[in-house]
């Protein structure tokens, strides 16, 4: 596509393990042993079978945004402990462990940037942070990203990856579904484009709120996308689920997403849509 001008550059994934001699990675889908560097150059898509590895939030910023255009917002928002929740571990300890593991304060990275020259408000979820679960901070950061889009009259892009609710925040976690959807209601009335990108996995309350509400919903190949988790469904209906159930291609077939997009085409696809919607 000629209008797609940006050179693809190798990514530096933040989750790269610091093991000595860690130059190979095995594909979880086909078992092929891959050079890490080649895999990174290929945006963490298996060179042998096309399997899309899970990647971190900053990787998506690198894939989608024009070089150097991204500016992070709300990086200092942190979870409180509204219920004083403790199971085997107090909730604040779980959060601290996730902060240490990811170097981020919560499961959303949000900011402003440009995609092929179009200014956008972008929010990307990070599955590594407590399974991308949605608590108050996730809801607030998504809501603020939507408000920035509204105030500046620029498109909103959200990349989702989530195991569902942040149970440790109880009812506040549930209410983030209302909160994010309500802000999107206003954005919808303002005629501002919203592109939702669903990655592996997107389930639970995130799917049943902002992830499904894009003017355009895009999904990465093979991504698990659903409301109930497959195990819960199997336990409920007491039968095995059909092959490919709740995968991106299944959602395309059932009319729930507009396109399944290979990660290597993601930037071009989003840019093309933006030009159609806002130029």
């Amino acid at each position: 596509m000629a209008w797609f001008r940006k050179e693809k550059k190798p990514l530096k994934p933040e989750d790269r393990r610091d093991l000595p001699g860690d130059v190979f990675e095995k594909c979880g889908a086909c078992g092929e042993i891959l050079y890490r560097e080649k895999l990174a150059e290929n945006l963490h898509v298996c060179l042998s079978c096309g399997h899309h590895f899970r990647i971190a939030a900053p990787d998506y910023v690198g894939i989608l945004c024009d070089d150097g255009s991204f500016e992070e917002y709300d990086a200092d928002l942190e979870s409180g402990d509204p219920l004083g929740f403790a199971d085997s571990k107090p909730y604040p300890e779980r959060i601290q462990a996730a902060v240490k593991k990811t170097g981020r304060k919560e499961a959303v990275l949000a900011g402003m940037g440009t995609i092929d020259g179009v200014e956008v408000s972008l929010a990307v979820m990070d599955f590594r942070f407590v399974g991308g679960s949605m608590g108050s901070v996730v809801g607030e950061k998504i809501a603020r990203a939507a408000r920035r889009a509204e105030e500046r009259n620029v498109p909103l892009i959200v990349v989702s990856a989530s195991g569902g609710a942040r149970m440790q925040e109880g009812i506040f976690s549930l209410m983030q579904m209302s909160k994010t959807s309500a802000v999107l209601g206003r954005l919808h009335e303002a005629g501002i484009p919203y592109i939702s990108i669903l990655t592996d996995p997107t389930t639970g309350g995130v799917t049943a709120s902002f992830a499904m509400l894009g003017d355009v919903n895009l999904a990465e190949p093979g991504a698990l996308i659903g409301f109930a988790g497959p195990r819960v469904i199997e336990e409920t209906i007491r039968q095995e689920l059909p092959e490919g159930f709740q995968r991106a291609e299944f959602l395309l077939e059932h009319g729930m997403v507009d396109r399944v997009v290979d990660r290597r085409e993601l930037r071009a696809t989003v840019a093309g849509l933006l030009h159609h919607m806002v130029d």
Binding site: G139, G170, S178, H254
Partner: protein, 330 residues
């Protein structure tokens, strides 16, 4: 009362009830005047009921909220409303009987009432899927809400579900999309919308008809992001710990009021709503009439502005040195 034996705190109540019944039979047969003894027993019964229900533990609250004799949506619609005309179907696929809805009058004024509906016996539960809606239920609800908006009538929703149905058809037909769309569209409605949690409000399945100007909860109703059993299975690795999960989740009406999510707790009659359906419905009716009258004062723009502000403030977070978020006001 079927199913009540599993409620520890109801055993003494049942015993006194038995004594009252026996005394009555004896009195009727012998033509005796037992009014004094009866009055004494009734007094004891009321005191016991009040005591038992005043300090329920969270997991006991969960049991009461799921009590098989508790009034369900249609029982409230029959008692708190008049002239109900049920409307069926989502116009897209089928009629989901786990959600009921239609026109009714509340204190004489027309409203659209929509509720999740459990079955009273196995046969009805098969029809109503134990109150677990499919996407069609949410889409029917949205169709009815839009109809209410078209005619400028308020919407009342009654929440009582173990959750949206986790099944193949449900996922195929987009349960997540249906709930998400309801949330977005309910935030935009130009008419007042009020929800009452009458039993168990579980997860996104409850919320799918729950984005409202006011959230009322019956005293023994619960509202939670996940069932205590589900939460225990994940965080404690065994559903056995559901009592701990029920406590930790803070899912009782008192909790939700304190957390600033529920706007009002509607008191239940002594012994819980299942002990006196009429009294429970009367309390719901009073609260709804009062709430809708308050909302009448707001025009559509103001209504929506406040609704958006309410939901955008939901949650608690730390930003810099101070904690913010309106919903923490407790």
């Amino acid at each position: 009362m079927a199913g009540s034996s599993r409620f520890e705190f109801e055993r003494d109540i049942a015993e006194i009830q038995n004594q009252i019944d026996r005394l009555r039979t004896v009195a009727d047969e012998g033509g005796l005047d037992v009014s004094e003894q009866l009055a004494e027993l009734r007094g004891k019964l009321d005191a016991l009921k009040e005591d038992a229900y005043r300090d329920l533990t969270p997991i006991e609250q969960v049991q009461v909220a799921r009590h098989p004799q508790r009034p369900y949506s249609l029982d409230y619609i029959e008692r708190a409303f008049t002239d109900f005309v049920e409307l069926h179907g989502d116009r897209l696929y089928r009629d989901d009987e786990a959600i009921v809805g239609g026109w009714a009058r509340l204190d004489g004024r027309p409203v659209m009432v929509i509720g999740q509906q459990k079955g009273r016996d196995m046969k009805e539960n098969l029809r109503r899927n134990f109150g677990m809606p499919h996407p069609e239920g949410y889409r029917k609800a949205l169709r009815l809400m839009r109809m209410a908006e078209k005619f400028g009538r308020p919407v009342v929703t009654l929440i009582d579900t173990p959750g949206a149905y986790p099944g193949i058809g449900s996922e195929e037909r987009g349960i997540a999309e249906a709930i998400a769309t309801n949330l977005r569209e309910m935030s935009r409605l130009r008419v007042p919308v009020v929800s009452v949690v009458i039993g168990e409000g579980m997860s996104g399945g409850a919320l799918g008809i729950g984005l409202t100007d006011r959230i009322l909860m019956l005293e023994h109703a619960i509202y939670s992001v996940i069932s205590p059993e589900g939460c225990a299975a994940i965080l404690w690795r065994s559903a056995e710990h559901k009592d701990k999960a029920a406590t930790a989740l803070r899912l009782t009406s008192r909790d939700l009021l304190q957390l600033g999510v529920a706007d009002e707790v509607v008191p239940e009659p002594a012994g819980g709503a299942h002990a006196d359906w009429d009294a429970a419905a009367a309390a719901v009716r009073e609260a709804l009439v009062r709430t809708l009258t308050e909302l009448d004062a707001l025009d559509a723009d103001e209504l929506r502005r406040r609704r958006w502000a309410k939901y955008e403030a939901m949650g608690t977070w730390i930003e810099g040195p101070t904690e913010s978020g309106a919903a923490t006001a407790s």
